[in-house]
């Protein structure tokens, strides 16, 4: 199939970017979106031009590296799918495709379609962990976890940190990412000791970089892992509960 692409090109973080048009000819409908870009890049290399820079790693939808805005859809038109798992059969021969990087003031473009997502690392550093000493591997099932809680925590933990939620949000909010990263710990017994300090620290770090939630739900439909905005509600609940807790350690 033949496609005309309109791709955001930007030489570096401080360079002025702009759109450039490319023709992608003879693309197999079985190719993934990234393989289509690989093909375009091979032709650019042959012509002595700079290839289009884009993030990618596992190419099986679990690493969270890839992700671009495709015709106004984060990760393209197929729901619950990362860009690497999107196949060209979802497009028609002769389509024009606009490919843009994620946009948010805390996710500046590094080059072409690659953005700097290190603000997500700052949020995780603030509390996305459990502080326990690791010794020998504990016996399996030594801590009982309700099945529903385990499944909900697993759903939250499926977040791959691709930032499609921020890209989709009209307010550039990172609430879905942060809620998933908070709740996959807060829902489990192991996450309880630090539940409220974690929630406050991660929410307030998130807000240093990103906007606020107006409950549009765009993040949920953009998420390649279909993570529910229920987690955002539960994060809100834990944040408010934390405001009423005194963190004084009674008796010490």
């Amino acid at each position: 199939m033949d496609l005309s692409l309109k791709v955001w090109r930007q030489a570096g973080p401080d360079a002025v970017g702009g759109f450039k048009s490319y023709e992608a000819k003879g693309i197999s409908p079985e190719a993934s979106f990234l393989e289509m870009l690989d093909d375009v890049n091979e032709h650019l290399n042959e012509a002595g031009e700079d290839p289009i820079a884009f993030d990618h790693d596992c190419r099986e939808g679990i690493c969270g590296m890839c992700g671009v805005m495709i015709n106004g859809d984060p990760h393209g038109p197929q729901s619950g799918t990362a860009t690497c798992q999107l196949h060209m059969r979802k497009f028609n021969d002769g389509d024009s495709i606009t490919i843009e990087p994620w946009r948010a003031s805390s996710m500046p473009v590094i080059r072409d379609l690659i953005v700097d997502r290190s603000a997500f690392d700052r949020i995780i550093e603030a509390g996305g962990y459990i502080s326990i000493n690791t010794g020998a591997a504990p016996d399996a099932n030594i801590i009982a976890v309700p099945k529903e809680a385990a499944e909900a925590a697993m759903d939250a933990a499926s977040c791959i940190g691709c930032a499609a939620c921020v890209a989709a949000c009209p307010n550039s909010a990172a609430n879905l990412f942060t809620a998933a990263k908070i709740q996959h710990l807060n829902l489990l017994p192991q996450g309880q000791p630090e539940r409220f300090t974690r929630t406050v620290a991660m929410v307030e770090t998130m807000e240093e970089y990103f906007g606020s939630c107006t409950n549009h739900g765009e993040c949920e439909s953009a998420c390649p892992k279909n993570i529910s905005i229920d987690f955002i509600a539960w994060m809100n609940r834990d944040y408010v509960k934390a405001q009423f807790k005194t963190f004084q350690k009674t008796g010490q």
Binding site: N71, D73, V109, C213, N215, E218, I229
Partner: protein
């Protein structure tokens, strides 16, 4: 880091963080929704006509509001407290909205997507909250000038609620303004009524479907009720 003491511990969190401000939006929103519902319920007395003594029930209703608390308190005392409360709730709601909107503008940065966004989940109501809110604020100012203070209504007589409503809404541009403003109000409260559950942290797959349904029923009831009054006046039914 994130250490607060005493009352700052919770007050600070609510007023500094966006999640806290959204909580304030939701709580004040519940207050305002309750007010809108009570306001409509009272106004429907415009349809109940007059009593045996020839007094319109809606005039008696406004008098009763003024004498709320009976002889226990001076006349107008409780109503003034309610009005001050309503005004502070409005002020908090607007303060939170303004603060959040300016934070969101900062977070969005300068660059916009070139391709038009393919909205998958948001709707007209959710994307127009800012503008709907602004229209409602301007309308409320006009509404107060029209039917509370009376300087936007040449035939205004304090206390003659029924006559004032008829005199105001008989002017068809004013009636259309009331209808249009109420449509804006209803879009705003449709998203607000659904959204407040989310902001307050009340979500469960079991009853999530009910939240949208409740919001739709509430919004439609307010729309039908509020718009029925200017239509009834224009049509000469009251």
């Amino acid at each position: 880091m994130h250490e607060r003491s005493g009352w700052r511990q919770w007050l600070g969190g609510f007023f500094s963080s966006s999640v806290g401000l959204k909580w304030i939006m939701a709580i004040t929103g519940i207050g305002l929704l309750g007010y809108v519902a009570a306001h409509l319920f009272g106004n429907l007395k415009v349809f109940t006509g007059m009593d045996a003594a020839g007094d319109y029930y809606i005039d008696l209703y406004s008098e009763a509001l003024w004498h709320l608390g009976g002889h226990l308190v001076p006349a107008g005392f409780l109503l003034t407290i309610l009005r001050v409360g309503l005004l502070s709730v409005f002020a908090l709601h607007i303060y939170a909205a303004y603060t959040l909107a300016s934070r969101n503008r900062r977070a969005k940065g300068q660059e916009r997507y070139d391709a038009s966004r393919n909205w998958a989940a948001s709707n007209y109501a959710s994307r127009t909250m800012k503008w709907g809110g602004t229209i409602i604020l301007l309308f409320v100012l006009f509404h107060l000038a029209d039917l509370t203070f009376g300087f936007a209504n040449p035939e205004f007589h304090h206390g003659d609620v029924y006559a004032n409503i008829i005199a105001s809404l008989e002017r068809w541009p004013v009636a259309i303004l009331y209808i249009v403003a109420n449509i804006a109000l209803v879009f705003h409260i449709y998203h607000g009524t659904w959204s407040l559950f989310q902001s307050l942290g009340s979500a469960s797959p079991k009853y999530n479907g009910l939240r949208r349904g409740f919001a739709a029923v509430f919004a439609w009831s307010i729309l039908v009720g509020n718009v029925s009054i200017p239509i009834a006046v224009l049509a000469g039914w009251v």
